[in-house]
Amino acid sequence: MPKVRVYVTLKPSLLDSAGRTVSDALGKLGFPEVKGARIGKLIELDVAAYDEGKVKAMCDKLLANPVIEDYRFEEVG
């Protein structure tokens, strides 16, 4: 069965406060080279058949909020 990976990320202009916490924690754990972190979502869908238009519709309808997020997706395996 085809699998689709949808990546949803917060728009670059928006403060990602959870990402900032992770970045700060990595700094404290001895990784001072980390200057920032942003957290997104990976959504894996099992679909009966891959249809790019339909995946886009799923993203627009539910998986991503265009006010705050960007998305991209790919078919895998």
């Binding site: 403060l15 406060s17 539910l62 909020n65 006010v67």
Partner: protein, 227 residues
Amino acid sequence: MRVAVIRFPGANCDQDGYFALNDELGVKAEYVWHEATSLAGFDGAFLPGGFSYGDYLRCGAMAARSPVMDEVRRLGKAGYPVIGVCNGFQVLCEAGLLPGALLLNAQQKFLCQDVYIEAVNRNSMWTRGVDRILRMPIAHGEGRYVCEAETLHRLEQDDRVAFRYVSPTGQRVDEWNPNGSTDAIAGVLNEAGNILGLMPHPERACRELTGSVDGVLILRAFSLVHA
């Protein structure tokens, strides 16, 4: 005035709304399950706070696509009072009934405390006559209001910023903006001014026992308005 208190799975302020409206505001509030396909006979809706669908995916995302939301949309379009508090605000944004979105608080903490808010708009059914600083609680992890610059400009131009976080004396300063909301926005209105989204909880500030009765000044819209 019959108000539908919408119950989404995971909502937890539905009872607060129900009792505030019935006992303190003198309007008839009734619970309506999110799968309802009709709000016939209702003249308003209250979307409560909580964690609908466990906040999965995004706060309010799944609730915004519930069957009952078509009817909430219908009431809103017809000019009836519709308010979404906390998670209810997130639902209204996700449903596209209000602009913008609510993100994780800037300082990453869940906040449970009193805040002070000021009505910016003074002409809507929700804000008319609210001419003093109100105190009421917030309880949220994701209450940082954001929207695109263009949207913000439009909101301000059209006088649709309903409430802003301020200091107890009405100063707009960062220390009193609890979650880092853009322009300290605590609540916004739709174009017609009958749909309000608000992060603070007016329904928890309707009797002396809970520490404040300032919420009445907002929720009284339900008893004053006969759309």
